[in-house]
Assembly symmetry: C2
Homo-oligomer: 183 residues x 2
Amino acid sequence: MSLVNKSIYAILGILSIQPSTGYDIKRYSDKVLSGFWNENFGHIYPTLKKMIESGLIENVPGEVEDRKIKYAITEKGKGELKKWLSEEIQTPAVRSELMLKLLFGNDMSKEATIDMLSKQKDIHEENLIKYLTMQQELTCEGSQITAKRSVYYNAILRKGIINSAANIEWCEETIESLKKLKG
Amino acid sequence: MSLVNKSIYAILGILSIQPSTGYDIKRYSDKVLSGFWNENFGHIYPTLKKMIESGLIENVPGEVEDRKIKYAITEKGKGELKKWLSEEIQTPAVRSELMLKLLFGNDMSKEATIDMLSKQKDIHEENLIKYLTMQQELTCEGSQITAKRSVYYNAILRKGIINSAANIEWCEETIESLKKLKG
DNA sequence: CTAGAATATTTCACAGTGATATATATGTCA
DNA sequence: TGACATATATATCACTGTGAAATATTCTAG
């Protein structure tokens, strides 16, 4: 296990909605999955080739127009997606540069540290607004989304909101505790 | 910029505390940096070689005993560490398998989703306990740590605590909203 | 009609992961 | 003492994932 190309499942998921090109997949990752799933061309295209080889996806018949290459999920691909859903989630390796700087930033001035933290706070505040806006769009527009699906999508947005709020709270409290430090 | 070996700074930071072997660096990452910074041998050793070449670190003189290779930070390395501290933090690429499953888990049963979420909750609860324990050790032991340093270290632990609590809250609320969903 | 933005794919060097192989040193229980 | 497990220590491998750049076409606004 362990060393598995996770992009496969993101791609299968996207193609389970509708057939797409590699470019579409990248765009979907940037727009819809924005903030919780990153994809890039350097990985998407080679992965698509491997997925064709293993029969998880196929070229959309009759649509190989021009230079565009459109892919669709196969029955085998659907099975693989379902199988993955039932598997345990592997806890990902974390690398927080911020925490590293905080731990090793002994000779970083108090002011510089506070500055760093307030920049982080700004980022999380922007994210919070982004998620709240997306949530409003979800509820207001009464879009074609099903009730069940909207519960799941809302959960994702709530994750973004709760995490952003937690980060903001932490930044504020840490800035305060630094300000109290003399020196 | 952008494509930079971040392990360099973790290693410089660790070596700024005391000279260490590659193995020591890995152990420090697993014990002290546990939960917010991951390192592995496959990256540490090649990076150490590059760092020797660029003069950021050096072999500890007279200590090349047996097979152990001990490294120490150089003046150049100290300068590089300081420079990095003043640089902007790059927002890392995120890949949350949990969010992916939630978004594409249309044909995942409600029960399976709840099960997945409660497993995640368990993990975060364990983490929460871990961070709280570490915090107690920090305050009780009245260790040789300086007041300034303890504020920084406490901030790191608070980050773990606040994030874990936020995740637990989200898991609970999402499980509740799923339970209310009929079908 | 033309400059620039969006679409689309390929390629590259590099960062980072986790497993495994190898070998020595140390502690421990019979 | 010997045997056996565990800790120390380094090296190597195949693979995943990142971001930038090269290339070419198509769409769109001025």
